[in-house]
Symmetry: C2
Amino acid sequence: MDKVVFFDIDDTLLDTSNFAKIAREAAINAMVDNGLDLTNEEAYNLLKEIIAQKGSNYDKHFNVLTKTVYGEENYKLIASGMITYHNVKFALLRPFPRTNEVLIHLKTKGYKLAVISNGITIKQWEKLVRMNLHPFFDKIITSEEVGFEKPNKRIFEEALNAMNCSSENSIMIGNKFKEDAMGGVNAGMSSILVNSKVTDEERKKIIDENINIQIIDNIDEVDSIL
Amino acid sequence: MDKVVFFDIDDTLLDTSNFAKIAREAAINAMVDNGLDLTNEEAYNLLKEIIAQKGSNYDKHFNVLTKTVYGEENYKLIASGMITYHNVKFALLRPFPRTNEVLIHLKTKGYKLAVISNGITIKQWEKLVRMNLHPFFDKIITSEEVGFEKPNKRIFEEALNAMNCSSENSIMIGNKFKEDAMGGVNAGMSSILVNSKVTDEERKKIIDENINIQIIDNIDEVDSIL
C-alpha cells in the first residue's frame, strides 16, 4: 500500500507568520497615508483586535476596521489596505529553505504527498500555486471544504479516504503540537513536528506517554529521517 | 553511473516566446504613451530590427532605440519600456503544463537533472528561481559562463564534466533541432526534441541517417518515454 506524507502549509511548507506581520503593518501605513484618521499605532492595534475577534481566515478585516472608525465602510481606505497587503504578502511569501529539495526527496523515496490545512480553500491553493509547489501534491484537503478543522479526527479521516491509504502508512508533518502532531496521532498516523513552539510540558508528555511524535527544528531535516 | 537529463530552458521548460512578444508590445506602448515620437507600429518594427541586429540576449535594446530616434539616450523612455517589459514578462512567464510533474517523474526514476542554456547567466537563473524550478537541477550551465554556445560541443563537454557523467548516459532535451538535438547528439548524447519547429527536411535527415533524436510534441510527453 502507498505510503503517504501529509503536510500542513502555513509555517510548515511556507514561511507565513513573518510576512503576515510585515504585510499588515504596510497595509495600515497605506490606509493612514490615504486619510485614515488614526495614528499608525492605533490603527495597527485596532486591526490586531479585529483579527483576534474574527480569526485570521476572515476576509473582511479592513472593512470592519473602517466601519469601526467611521460607522460605515470606506472603500478607498479598504482598497489601499488590501492592495498593499497583497503586494507585500506575495513579495515576501517563500518556502522554507530546502522545502523543495525535501519534497523531491520524498517523491524519489516513493511517498505520495498531500496537504491537510486549516484555512480557506482558495487562499491555500493560491499560496501553493504562487510557489509552484502544487504539482507535488496529489490532494489538497482544507478545513473549509471538509467542514472540520484539525485536530478534529474527521479532517484526517477525509484525507486518508481521499488518498486511499491507511493511517499506519501515513505521516503528518506540521508546526502545531495540538492541531497537527496530536491530530495526526489521534487519527492513527505518526507525526513529525517541525518549526514548532512546543512547550517543555508537551515534550514531557510525548516522552512519558510514548506518543508517536518526532520533533525536528525545520522541514529541511525531514529527508534525514524519511 | 548516474543517468543525467539535460534541459534547455526557453520554450522547453518555460513558455518564453509567447510572453516576449506581448511584453515587447506593451513596452513600446508605454514608451509611446510617455512621449516617444513614433507610432506604436513604427516603434515596434524598429525594436524588432534592433533585436535582430544585437541579438535577443543583449540588454540595452531600449537604449539603442531612443538613441536611434533622438541621437542620445532618453532615460524616461528607457525606464518606461524596461519597467513595463519586466512587469509583463514576469506576469506571463510560466512553465509548460506538466513541466513540474515531468521533472518529479524523472527524479523518482533516479535521473539527475541539469540545464544547458544559451543565454545570460543571471537572466536564466532569474527565470528558474521565479518559477521555483531551480531545486530540481544539480547544475545550471550557461553559454555566458562557459564561453561557448550550443551547438558547440564544448558547452556539452563542460556540462558532462560538471555532472561527472558520460555522454552515453545522458539525454539532451530541447526545442531547437540544431542547437539542442544535433548539439547533444554530436556530443555523444541521445536527444529529445520537444515543442519544435522541425522541418520535413530535418525529419527526413533524422530517419535517413538514423540519428539518435526522438521528436515529441511537448515536454509533457517526456515521462511516457523516460
